[in-house]
């Protein structure tokens, strides 16, 4: 297993290098200028050029790329060109909130999605199945930002149970969880809808497999057939889905972060892109790449734990 994990990490390094190269070139090819973000729209071309010089943007692309890569190899993610602050410090300021939100949303998604999916599959073409399918379809159809605003209106403005926006301090767990509740719920409901549909479909297939029929013919209780024999292999594709969903959420929870005014990696990346803040964009991409590797390795480990065939390959 360890060897398997190490292999996955080593494969990720060239992938990360390619991604970094693409991002490095893409942000520079796009029109826009970080010097403009620093000086504003009244700056003269001479003043802009002076700032570009200071930022090292007048150096040739290979020189800039080498500076960037050598920095990363030294563990230095560089600085934000617009704010002058360390990219690592800025990212670390928001990363815990992103990880917390992603983890909470996925957990909620699994807690909602797996039982609902199983329940729907077991009651195929009966009302629990119809309810599960309709609700999950509604969840898939809802844009995250719209669901977020509806939740805010009802639970925060009308009932006053949760705060509308912001993040609570980690040193105050109660406040922190209250701030987390609505954003996690809005993403959790949507991820729960995905998990429900996948779980339902997988469990439906498994329930028709020979080994399930054998288990039933041995006279095992339906509950044991379901939970001991059908669900474990059924969770393998769900684990893949969760892995992919985690990666997606890490970067694309941006609309939820904006609506709930939560700091986060996605929001940081969008903002840096709008300002053409090459330094920060590159820093976020490195961290994001590292997170993708970690999530993939974890997914593979879980995958292996659920399905022994994977480990033996």
């Amino acid at each position: 297993m360890l060897r398997y994990a190490l292999k996955r990490i080593l494969i990720a390094i060239p992938v990360l290098f390619v991604v970094l190269t693409i991002i490095f070139l893409a942000v520079r090819v796009a029109p826009g200028d970080p010097a403009y973000a620093v000086l504003g729209d009244r700056a003269s071309e001479a003043a802009l050029n002076s700032v570009r010089e200071r930022m090292g943007l007048n150096d040739s692309l290979p020189v800039q790329f080498w500076d960037y890569l050598s920095g990363i190899l030294r563990g230095d993610l560089g600085v934000s060109l617009v704010t002058g602050r360390s990219a690592a410090g800025t990212i670390m300021g928001v990363l815990p909130h992103t990880v917390q939100l992603t983890f909470a949303a996925i957990t909620l998604g699994l807690l909602l999605g797996i039982p609902t999916g199983v329940w729907a599959a077991v009651h195929r073409n009966r009302w629990p199945d119809y309810v599960g399918r309709v609700v999950s379809l509604a969840g898939l159809s809802f844009p995250a930002f719209y669901l977020a605003i509806l939740l805010m209106l009802f639970f925060a403005v009308k009932l006053g149970w949760f705060p509308t926006t912001g993040v609570g301090d980690f040193t105050d767990p109660a406040a922190n969880l209250r701030h987390l509740a609505l954003p996690a719920l809005s993403l959790g409901l949507i991820s729960g809808a995905y998990v429900t549909r996948v779980t339902r479909s997988v469990v439906l297939n498994i329930l028709t497999e020979d080994f399930v029929r054998t288990a039933r013919s041995k006279g095992l209780a339906e509950r044991i057939v379901l939970y001991r024999h059908a669900l474990r292999p059924g969770l393998v594709p769900v684990a893949s889905l969760v892995g992919i969903f985690t990666i997606t959420l890490l970067g694309s929870a941006v609309t939820t972060e904006i609506v709930f005014a939560r700091p986060g990696l996605g929001r940081l990346l969008v903002n840096a892109t709008m300002q053409r803040d090459y330094g920060l964009i590159q820093g976020v991409v490195v961290v994001f790449g590292a997170l993708v590797v970690i999530v993939n390795v974890l997914t593979d480990i879980i995958y292996g734990a659920l399905d022994p065939k994977v480990r033996s390959r």
Binding site: Y36, T83, A261, N271
Partner: protein, 582 residues
Amino acid sequence: MHAVLNAKSFRLFVMIAVLGLLASACSGPEDEGAEDDQPVAEEATPDGEAAPADGSQAEGEEEEAPEVDLADRRVLRVGGFAADIGLLDPQFANAGMDRQIMKPMFEGLVRYIPGDITAGFEPAIATEVPEVPEPNEDGTQTWEFDIREGVMCHPGPNNDQYELTAEDVVLSYEKTINPDTAAFAPDYEVVESVEAVDDRTVAFTLSSPRSASLFLPLVADFAGGYVVCSQAVNMDNVEEFQSHPVGTGPFMFSEYNPGNNIVLEANDDYWRGPPRLAGIDMSFMADESSRTLALQAGELDFIFGVLEDQWVERIDAEDGLTAIALPVGGLHFLNINMAREPFDDLRVRQAVAYAQNRAAHVAVSGESVKIPAYSIEPLPDSRGGLTFEEAQELGLDYSYDPERARELLAEAGYPDGFSFEVVSSELAIYSDHYVVLQAALAEVGIDMQVEVVDHPTMHSLIREDNNALIEYLAPRPTMDQLLTQFAHSDSIVVEGSSPVSNFSHFAGADDLIEEARVETDEERQGELWREANIKILEEAAIIANTHDNNTFAWQDDFDPGHEPIATLESSFVLNENTGFTN
């Protein structure tokens, strides 16, 4: 809305008066000493209308500050409109949110009358607003300021609290005029030197004379005019200062959480007296719905609003909330590229001018948010600008007249119109204008294809002379800045000697703009600006469209501490007098 505001202002006035009486009844000899230090202001308005130095403001200055119960103050919770801020350096604060958060921390030598930039300046770090000095024999001009005693620099990571001297002021403006350490250096090219005459006197030598309306904004509480504390600034390493800014304002930096919020705390040693607020906590909330909901839920005390009449009316009608639209010095105007066919033909430019429909632009956001404009000017009715009646009398109002536009196009050889492409920012403040213009031009046969790009891309492309027509929103504090940046030949994009934002390629009023810049007689200066505006309109190079106001909302117990009438560049004054009524 105004009725609400006026009633509140009246209550505030009564409260201040009662507290003032109580404070004066309780005052001892120390307060008398402080009164001696109060300046008698001579005022000058930012666009030069000499405000009557009849002592009215001086009376205001002498009014005792309300007594503040330090133990019972609250932190003001603000919902800001940006996703984050840039450098924590007042002299790099070029974005609206950055300026908003710098203002409570820093001061200039003088300050705009809080809440009303049209009312002139009052003393701040300087003990008085100086009169316009006569030019020196060599053609230069020297402005001297006496530095107030008792102005304390906030304590910072590298300095204890200390009293500000001329040395700090000199360093501040040396930083401002240096393009490596400030974003506003181009505005200060006229400053030849800043010197400390003694510990309490600073002299600015200008290469050519400036009127009060052009010089005082350079040393006021805005943009490059802020004074920083020298012990906190290492000129060889300003980055350190930018992580913990140190000034002399009523609030001092406390903490910054990237992408989340910035917190300021009260400076109880502020020379005007302790602030009424315990601090300011500004959250970065780019989504306007979230700001509104958080205000409605009572989690915020003050927010930057949505640029719509209906939003203002809806929020203002809610119990416990107040919303206003406030002029913030933003002019929307259409730049027509005279160097690009077929717009190099005056008749085509005039046709575009007659085709555009100001009423339709106003209708997009509503009459409280957009006000029709007829010439380049920082605020409605600015000196040197043209009112509708004045423009109409000259035949240069370019009121909506599609029939006339079609005739002009036919005369120019385009009876069936023509097609061209432009890029617009994705931001609604730009794209809305392009959409309205697109419809208006289509009515006269001109097909304008609009490609929507992200905001930085638009700024980049239009500076490469990409667009034939450019809708632009420019908040600028002075007429000179508007005319210099958008209508002087030096500023022509790509081709100018110092390219900035002259997108129209207009070069027909350089002499007037330059003459007005050094004219110290403000009446004459206004005439020169007016003449420049007329030339621009005669050439149909830049067609003013609307003055854009900003909207704000707050809980009813929020008290601005001033009457909001007109402010600078999207900002709202939050100062030592801002507080709560309960």
